[in-house]
Amino acid sequence: MMNNSGASAAGSSSGSGEGSAPRRNFKRPKYSRFTQQELPACKPILTPQWVISVFTLVGIIFVPIGVISLMASHDVVEIVDRYDSACIPRNMAKDKVAYIQNAAINKTCNRTLKVLKNMDQPIYVYYQLDNFYQNHRRYVKSRNDAQLRSADEASETSGCDPERTTAGGAPIVPCGLIAWSLFNDTYSFKRGNENVMVNKKGISWKSDRDHKFGKDVYPKNFQNGALIGGAKLDPNKSLSEQEDLIVWMRTAALPTFRKLYGKIEVNLKANDTITVTLENNYNTYSFNGKKKLVLSTTSWLGGKNDFLGIAYLTVGGLCFFLATAFTVVYLVKPRKLGDPSYLSWNRSPLGY
């Protein structure tokens, strides 16, 4: 009797439980390893072996790269000639700006360069400017890519302030400060009496020639204003052929920069003497900028710069040092991994 009542009470309760079961279960979260945060995971831990081998490995990789980079850099032969002050006549040395701004004066200047090591072609001719803020925001923005690209957009000069239009309102092509201030020194080279040709083709990026500077875009109203900035452009040559402009339009990141002028495609021997005849037209005197002519070969890494090699060697060396240091410390005072005595509650009362 008693059992019956107990059982029936229990039965009824469980029955009611089942009755409402479907309603209840719909709130039940679905099981998946994702929602339960039980996805299989890789849980690497940093063992001393790992630490030491990682440092060693970095060292092993970095030091040779550093050495190779340094070697590559040393293979490069580079001749740098600063000519901005040397090309000023003595009588004008005190007023360089007046000299450079006087169109009447002939700015031709001769420089002699000595080749110290054999230079294999192609030898790249660069001009290097100092203290020239091609990266100034006002300067960088002052161009219009649409106009450069197609002849239809010639009147598109937005962003080109303050070199947008002529005084009459005709759009300038190419507009903007960058084009307007195009570098206009020229160089020609002689070895003895023999002319060394400078190839000015192929000094710009191919994509720039093909896609950014239109084949049918010709300079218009360029350098016609009261203020003459830099070089004039041949109005009969399309922009895509004006490689000096294309190179110049790639603004440099730093106030000191080199830009490609051309390529000399003959080998120069050690002790050759090169005579450079240059037109010193570009005004860097206003802002005390230096001008340099650079002849350089390249390695697979590019021009002469030891920095990369040194940096690699430093990091690689540091890693070797660290590997050694960790090894020594590990040997002197090893910690067994997973040693529970390092758990905070097993350590000194200082705890964490």
Binding site: K27, C42, H136, T251, R258
Partner: protein
């Protein structure tokens, strides 16, 4: 017709009940106060009963019964929510930047500034709106509940709750909630009493008796309200639940009202068919709403600290911008005039580069710079954090191990912005009823005539048995090192299913429990099925059962379906006794005005015999008397006094020959107490007819006495008869804790959390619960703080009511003294194992929470291992929470289930609501809801721990990443004459935070696990990393920031040095800004992604895909961007294909910079891991090498050591017991005399 409702309950309770139900006749009549007005201000409310229309006009126009708990409404939402949003400093800054971005000053396009801001603000506002909408829906659900309201002419009809006005007469039926604060007029009982459950108000579960005024008793059916009219003058709305002052003017007489006539909104009518009442307070005027506090918007500590970091970064930003703008102004003034290629003279209308006003240009530039370096303060951080938190909340919601199969409720993160706060909790403030206990009593054991019956063990005992067993089988008894009793128990106990414990308790590991009968978990064949007749003292046992069946105040209800009786009892204890009696064969089946009928079933006869016991007197239970008795006349005419009560009280009142079983019984009582059971002792007394009748005349005299002495007289009279008792036995009832509560408390204590219990229950109940959930244990010093004995005051008060102020002062001083003494005592304590518990009464708490005392109280409470506050009002709960929160400065978590916990839930740093029980108020106010207390462990120890670490690491990394990126912009400025040109393409910068680096960091914030959830649970000490804030302290934050600074330097200067001026490839081309910028950016992408890989220690395929994907996306983007029209890509056209990819320098720089940037961090973590590992490091290693499998001994040992030294919780109890055992062992060696004490008889032997 209305009369029929009273047929069954045609009982004059006042005849049975002695104290509270007796109406002192003629106490307040016309002579009381001739005028209606009450003294003093604050009593201006006038209610015209049955004239609700009178309350639609001034001056009696009180608010309607409409309630609203929403933060916003349609009109205020936009301004208020937007204000909330822009209270965040960072948002304000972004707003400013967005405003400025439409001017030409901005270095970026407006869309790139406005869109993310709109996204962040919009997302947060949408969240707010959704939450408020939920609140609104909840309010509406309440507002459109229906109540039966008098519509005039004696007709009653349904009305929505929100339409109820002051003055309405309402009829409330059984188990309905009161729609407003009512004055009780009459009930289905003839003498106008009704039972009320106030769980939603104060969490108390026992029913409270309310009674109407005598004069309103005739208003007993619908018709009688036809021309009913009265006026109530009473106090203004206030929050005090236990007071009420007012007058009722009815039929030109004035009657005083007191709280016992007031039915409060949100309490429930129980055991009474219906009541009539008149509405006094509506809507927000009701006491329960007055107790509600506005739900505050909470922010986690990490987020608050993040604000400081934002301030720091903002300072850096302003500093850097100032440097930039000063540099710019100087350059503009002194150098720019010489830069002819910029045509500095032709500035047009722009002030940006104006040579004549370099200062102005500088100021303009400052704004530009502030926007440009805005990458230092990442708006994407907020987006990412929001996303991460939502995903984390999703994981909490989806956790199957926090899903309750029984109620079908999963855990729910209702606000996601506190996830990480869960990992830093220091103090838990818990409600009792419904949170710790399921408010169900189970009759578990009893001691009759000196024998203990009941084989089933309490949860505490089972665990203790497992512990001892595992130690024995393990062979290594360590001091206080328990293994996980709850989980391991099965395996270690498996070999010996029955373990004898000291104290003769047997632990049966039950494979499958029998179907449960609610309230009855007793299991002992010696008593069941009538077997008790063959026990040594069947007479005593019979008496025992009769006391259970007769000595109570419950009403039986026949369950039509099963044919058995259920009982409506005032307290669940009583219900459990009756169920027990029923199961033993003594079924209480009927109660009349004068008698109790019990069906007694004996194995000898098939049919039960129905016996009648005449109830002569009923001496009611109250907390002061701690006992209740009935005087009965049985069928033989014998007059008996049956008594049950607290053991100490009963033992004091035993007669000389009634102490036969005292020694055994008290031993059993101790055992029961230790096992966490609630005990009562049962006794009886045979009364001679003459003796009874003399006493009865005294008693009747006291009963009918008038004046304040009445209660004292009654008590005295009761005292006279309740003596010379004969002990029968004792009962042990398990206050059914919710599943897993002791274990959970234990674990939480081990994790170093402090647990306070705040309950509306009586002190004794609270202490009992404290014992059963291991917050208290034997041997703990209990510091009980309560106001001085009431007797003293009342006696004084008798003489001089004017002295009431003085006594108040005296009480306060007394409490102050109690607190001071207790603090002193704790300070002088030298035993490291000694623990003390603070138990404080609600009344004492009012004084203790006063401004001048609260610090003292708090410091005492903090020194105590556990704190229990009883009889606290909802407001006090909130105040205590605030005191802990503000006084200790630590993170507090409040958990509760009822409306009475709302204040505390809102006040605490984190509020957790228990869902699945009736009443959603707590859940609605909470930040997280779980369906059972035990899920709190997982919520805190697993999710909290993870979320804390994830968010902390994520924020640190975010700052690192943005500093590393943002500062490179600054360095570059120095090379551009501070002109505001960035070296990176605009698109790179936009994508940096949005696509290229966001997903890995989100994956860090969502998926990172330092250790698995099992380990989190096994090593509760790991949780302490959160409260100690090891992952977001300034040391770490500064470290990460320095790392960012270092990385930015490396990235920038290595690139600049390497690309300098020379050709960067064999073709002789030199690098332009686009090439350098792109390479630098590539380096950043690699460096920060490598960094995050080093930071993570848990790689699922998702992380791997996202990290690798980020890097790959960058190259893909570069490729795609390069292929797009040169009008879009500008100088980045074909940059990867043509310029960078063929150049070895590009790749070698990437490698170099990535390595160089991560070197310091790698050194740091290597060093830390090798020589100063943190706990999770070591555990990771143990897991990695599977040492836990190889050396299980070590693993279990460490697990047990990982517990915080705790003085509460089950573990502490076991430890204490082991200490005690060892102490006894010593004693046993020294003197064998202790043996009798140590070896009590085991029931198995008997």
């Amino acid at each position: 017709m209305a009369r029929t409702g009273r047929i069954r309950e045609k009982l004059r309770w006042s005849k049975i009940y002695t104290f509270s139900c007796i109406r002192p006749t003629g106490s307040m009549t016309a002579d009381a106060s001739p005028s209606l007005s009450l003294p003093g201000p604050g009593h201006s409310r006038v209610v015209r009963c049955n004239q609700p229309h009178a309350h639609r006009r001034n001056p009696l126009n009180y608010p309607s019964n409409y309630i609203s708990t929403t933060k916003y409404n349609i009109v205020t939402f936009l301004p208020k929510a937007i204000f909330e949003q822009f209270r965040r400093v960072a948002n304000l800054y972004f707003l400013l930047a967005a405003c400025l971005s439409v001017t030409s000053i901005s270095p970026f396009s407006p869309v790139s500034m406005i869109a993310p801001l709109a996204f962040v603000v919009g997302l947060s506002m949408a969240k707010e709106a959704l939450e408020d909408w939920r609140r609104f829906v909840q309010d509406m659900k309440v507002n459109i509940r229906k109540a039966i309201v008098h519509k005039g002419n004696g007709r009653f009809g349904n009305k929505f709750w929100h339409k109820i006005r002051v003055g309405d007469v309402v009829k409330v039926e059984k188990n309905q909630f009161f729609p407003a604060d009512l004055l009780l007029l009459s009930s289905s009982y003839e003498d106008g009493i009704c039972y009320v459950e106030t769980m939603n108000l104060d969490g108390e579960t026992n029913l409270k008796v309310k009674r109407s005024l005598e004069v309103t008793l005739p208003l007993e059916d619908d018709q009688s309200f036809n021309d009913f009219s009265a006026t109530i003058q009473c106090e203004d709305p206030n929050s005090s639940l236990y007071t009420f002052v007012g007058n009722l003017e009815y039929e030109r007489q004035v009657y005083a009202l007191d709280p016992s006539q007031i039915l409060l909104r949100d309490s429930k009518l129980r055991n009474t068919s219906y009541i009539y009442g008149v509405v006094i307070f509506t809507g927000h005027d009701t006491k329960v709403m007055q107790n509600a506090t506005e739900s505050p918007s909470k922010r986690s500590r990490i987020e608050k600290k993040m604000d400081y970091i934002i301030y720091i970064l903002f300072t850096v930003l302003v500093l850097v911008s100032l440097i930039s703008s000063i540099g710019f102004a100087v350059k503009t003034k002194f150098e720019m005039p010489e830069w002819w290629y910029l045509q500095p003279q032709r500035v047009g209308d722009s002030h940006l580069y104006n040579l004549s006003t370099p200062g102005l240009s500088g100021i303009f530039h400052l704004v530009t710079a502030l926007i440009l370096y805005g990458y230092l303060i990442p708006i994407s951080l907020y987006v990412s954090i929001e996303v991460v938190k939502v995903l984390q909340a999703m994981f909490i919601n989806q956790d199957l191990q926090m899903y309750d199969e029984e109620t079908g409720n999963p855990a729910q993160a209702r606000t996601s912005n506190l996830n990480e706060e869960l990992g830093q909790v220091d103090t838990i403030l818990s409600d009792k009823t419904g949170t710790l206990t399921c408010n169900q009593m189970d009759f578990l054991k009893c001691s009759i005539a000196g024998f203990s019956y009941g084989l089933r063990s309490s949860e505490v005992e089972i665990a203790a048995a497992k512990q001892i067993a595992s130690e024995e089988s393990g062979g290594s008894v360590q001091n206080g090192s328990g293994i996980d009793y709850w989980e391991n128990g099965g395996s270690s106990c498996g070999s010996s299913p029955e373990i004898k414990l000291e104290g003769g308790i047997t632990c049966k590991i039950e494979k499958a429990r029998k179907p449960m009968i609610k309230g009855f978990s007793f299991e002992d064949d010696r008593l069941m099925q009538g077997n008790w007749l063959s026990e040594p003292d069947p007479d005593v046992i019979l008496l025992f059962f009769r006391i259970l069946a007769v000595c109570h105040t419950a009403i039986p209800e026949l369950d039509e379906e099963t044919g058995s009786f259920t009982y409506e009892a005032e307290s669940p204890d009583e219900g459990a006794f009756l169920v027990a009696a029923r199961e033993f064969g003594f079924e209480f089946c009927r109660r009349t005005q004068t008698s109790v009928f019990v069906r007694e079933r004996y194995p000898s006869s098939a049919d039960p015999i129905e016996r009648e016991f005449k109830i002569l007197n009923l001496l009611e239970f109250n907390s002061k008397r701690k006992r209740m008795s009935v005087v009965i006349r049985d069928e033989n005419g014998q007059v008996l006094l049956l008594c049950k009560g607290a053991d100490s009280i009963i033992f004091d009142r035993l007669s000389k020959n009634g102490r036969m079983y005292e020694v055994d019984t008290s031993k059993h009582l101790n055992e029961y107490g230790e096992a966490g059971l609630r005990t009562l002792a049962l006794a009886y007394r045979k009364l001679e007819e003459s003796e009874y009748s003399t006493w009865n005349t005294d008693f009747l005299k006291a009963k009918t006495a008038i004046g304040p002495d009445r209660e004292a007289q009654l008590e005295q009279a009761s005292d006279m008869i309740e003596k010379e008792l004969i002990l029968v036995g004792a009962t042990a009832v398990e206050d059914k804790l919710q599943k897993g509560v002791p274990q959970c408390i234990d674990k939480l204590a081990q994790a170093g959390l402090k647990i306070w219990v705040l309950t509306g229950d009586k002190m004794e109940t609270a202490i009992n619960i404290g014992f059963s959930c291991s917050l208290l244990r034997q041997g703990m010093k209990q510091i009980c703080i309560s106001p001085v004995n009431k007797d003293l005051i009342t006696q004084d008060a008798n003489k001089a009511l004017v002295l009431s102020l003085v006594t108040e002062q005296a009480v306060k001083e007394d409490i102050q003294k109690q607190i001071t003494n207790a603090s002193q005592m704790i300070k002088l304590e030298t035993d490291p194992h000694a623990a003390s518990a603070l138990i404080i009464d609600g009344k004492a708490l009012t004084y203790a929470l006063e401004e001048d005392m609260k610090q003292q109280f708090l410091s005492l409470a903090v020194d105590c291992a556990s704190v229990i506050c009883c009889r606290v009002s909802p407001k006090q709960k909130a105040l205590v929470t605030r005191l802990v929160k503000e006084g200790t400065g630590k993170v507090t978590l409040a958990i509760g289930d009822g409306a009475n916990d709302v204040g505390m839930i809102q006040e605490a740093d984190i509020g957790v609501g228990i869902s699945g029980v009736e009443g959603m108020q707590a859940v609605m106010a909470s930040d997280f809801s779980i369906s059972q207390f035990r899920y709190l462990e997982r919520l805190l120890v697993v999710h909290g721990h993870w979320c804390y670490k994830r968010i902390a690491q994520m924020i640190c990394y975010f700052f690192y990443k943005n500093i590393a990126f943002g500062l490179t912009l600054f360095y570059f400025e120095a090379y551009t004459g501070f002109s505001g040109q960035s070296v990176y393409d605009d698109w790179y910068m936009i994508l940096f935070n949005v696509i290229l680096t966001s997903l890995p960091v989100i994956s860090l914030g969502v998926f990172e696990q330092d250790v698995s959830s099992e380990v989190c649970l096994q090593f509760p000490a790991l949780y302490q990393q959160g409260p100690k804030n090891l992952f977001f302290d300034w040391y770490r934050i500064i470290g990460w920031m320095s790392n960012g600074l270092y990385s930015s330097l490396m990235i920038f200067f290595l690139n600049i040095g390497i690309f300098f001026t020379q050709a960067f490839r064999q073709g002789g081309q030199t690098a332009d800004m686009a090439a350098i910028g792109t390479t630098m950016f590539t380096c950043i992408i690699w460096a920060v992604n490598m960094q995050i890989s080093l930071t993570m220690c848990h790689f699922t395929w998702i992380q791997i895909v996202l990290v690798c994907g980020s890097i790959a996306t960058w190259y893909l983007f570069l490729l795609a961007y390069g292929e797009s029209s040169p009008l879009i890509s500008g100088n980045a056209f074909h940059i990867l294909v043509e310029a960078l990819a063929p150049s070895p320098v590009f790749w070698s720089v990437t490698l170099l910079v990535t390595a160089a940037c991560n070197l310091p961090y790698l050194i740091h973590i290597s060093y830390q891991r090798l020589y100063n590992p943190m706990d999770h490091h070591v555990i990771q290693e143990i897991k990695y090498y599977k040492k836990d499998v190889e050396d299980q001994c070590m693993w279990t040992r460490e697990r047990s050591k990982a517990r915080s030294a705790t003085k509460i919780g089950f573990t502490a109890r076991v430890d204490a017991k082991i200490r005690q055992l060892k102490g006894k062992l010593h004693m046993k060696v020294s003197s064998l005399s202790a043996q009798t004490v140590v070896l009590p008889p085991s029931p198995d032997v008997l």
